[in-house]
Symmetry: C2
Subunit: 337 residues, 2 copies
């Protein structure tokens, strides 16, 4: 059976397929002009600030098509952007998709990518209002722009941490890095019934949108960012932007159980592998110790556990306490290199 490539359809026909897949969700009242004109036209939300971000995921850099199914590629492209909104405490509102498609890219995979993008967007009540399609002889690039909203004075930035603040992280860490190693070792391991939770977490990261909006609403956090480039990077970034130091307790880190096992069986230091691994889309945030009560709501309704892993210091050093000794926190993961 031959595989139809996207190049067998015109741009208009592909846009038609996208519109069909998006039609399942009725358009919101505030959308005045959607897909199909030179640009989208929307009403803004009263008394809210807008939060905007863009992120591209690129074949060979952020994912390997050899072991990443199309549904995971589409999911990731939207999830990484939702994660940035979550880190600001924003509620997702709309998205624009810019897709650069290899000419030979299978049409069935295109449909699966669009389906997973639209499903994740719908789950977070985010409307896809427009976009752009291009063909290329190079790798697949999915570029997603998202816009969310947040109440005035409630945006969570990287710059508000103070000495003495506690440092927290949501969920577990190390899972994505271990999951990626598992897929690299055995590309078909996602297809088995007893798939390791790390593999699932690598392929389908869950953005912590609800947790972020609760932190923003009850002013529980002083600074926040997501772990797209790993926990070590996030601690460095928040410390730098807030002009504080931080000491993280390696023994307190919520390292995923099967990730720890995977790393240790291969002679890797589980703490280092987990703090420097990328793609855990958890939130790192800081909070005043005397306002711990406010975090209870996030803990209870945020759809994710949270763990206190250290504290901020007046001294600007960023340290990792591991096996009884403090050493400099390693640098973060970089997708860029």
């Amino acid at each position: 059976m031959s595989v139809s490539p996207v190049a067998s359809l015109s741009e208009g026909e592909l846009i038609g397929r996208i519109r069909e897949r998006l039609a399942a969700v009725p358009p919101p009242d505030w959308l005045q002009v959607g897909i199909g004109d030179d640009a989208a036209v929307v009403e803004t939300e009263r008394n809210r600030l807008e939060v905007l971000t863009v992120d591209a995921i690129v074949e060979g850099v952020h994912f390997d098509r050899a072991f990443t199914p199309p549904s995971a590629i589409g999911h990731r492209a939207v999830a990484v952007n939702l994660s940035d909104l979550a880190a600001m405490g924003a509620t997702p509102r709309l998205a624009l998709l810019s897709l650069v498609l290899p000419r030979t890219f299978p049409l069935a995979d295109f449909d699966e990518i669009i389906g997973s993008m639209s499903a994740l967007a719908a789950r977070f009540r985010m409307t896809i209002v427009g976009g752009n399609l291009t063909q290329t002889d190079g790798p697949l690039v999915l570029d997603v722009t998202v816009v969310g909203t947040v109440k005035k004075r409630r945006a969570l930035t990287r710059g508000g941490a103070r000495p003495g603040d506690d440092v927290y992280v949501t969920g577990v860490i190390g899972a994505a890095a271990a999951g990626l190693q598992m897929l690299q070792a055995e590309p078909n391991c996602a297809a088995v019934e007893s798939v390791d939770p790390c593999v699932r977490q690598y392929l389908y990261p869950e953005p912590r949108v609800r947790f972020g909006t609760i932190l923003s609403r009850n002013r529980g956090a002083t600074a926040c960012m997501d772990l797209s480039d790993g926990l070590a990077d996030a601690v460095h970034q928040i410390a730098g932007a807030s002009q504080v130091g931080a000491t993280i307790d390696g023994a307190a880190l919520p390292i995923a159980a099967s990730a720890r096992r995977w790393f240790e069986e291969r002679g890797q230091n589980a703490v280092d592998a987990s703090v420097t691994g990328g793609d855990d889309y958890e939130l790192l945030f800081t909070a005043r110790p005397r306002l711990r009560g406010r975090l209870a709501a996030a803990q209870q309704h945020g759809h994710a556990p949270m763990t206190r892993i250290g504290s901020c210091t007046a001294d600007r050093a960023v340290l990792l306490r591991d096996g009884g000794v403090e050493r400099p926190m390693p640098p973060g993961y970089s997708h860029f290199r």
Copy 2:
């Protein structure tokens, strides 16, 4: 002398270079969080609708690095998006840049691209509020998202033309297609002092932002779009969205003089080459004949000439009158194939 590639710097260092180049323009009051956090935070504009669009330009598809200088690549990436805002009658406000850079891409070319993007944005008072950098082994991709604003009920769409409306186009057409052919024939022709105006127009298209906003403000137009995929495509699109037909008079088309000469000397039909050529970022719009007076303002203050080239019909056919006979309008240019 060796050339430094972008890969010799970290993502943070490249972002630093971008921030330096943007620092020339003071940030507007409404920008609460700019480049350097998980997302940008902005105040919205009261009583205005937002207009959003994204467009990617891809090496090998939209430009050829062999004869397109970096400043023209950066200019184009921003101009095509400003042109989409112009087509909606919107005033530009902010932009997000997502750049996918080949690892070997020269740092000096990166600087030149950023410089030309920021210069064009500044000229239209558009603030670059954030973005994303990625490296790739594939071609250069510049993905730009822009947001503009327009008064309520004043957005220009493709769907408002009625039978009997006049059809207009701004500026001249065919110039970009001829300019591209000139560059393909003689890659260095942009470097000479007596560079053909078509080459300049291909390399540095001027988005018709001012013309579009005037049309929107005085309700002079019933439908509007830009010519990114050529005049023939724009007539088809407006006719389709408005459910009308149109007859365009080939003899009335404002074909650039040196483009006409270039096409005719090479045995090409100048009318066909000009209506099917892409990359003329002019506006095509329709207007009621009895409201012609309103167009005078656009004519006078819109920074571009305009030409009446035909009219809309109740019959759904889209025709080109050429050499005394009417024939179907050819299909548009497609960057997609």
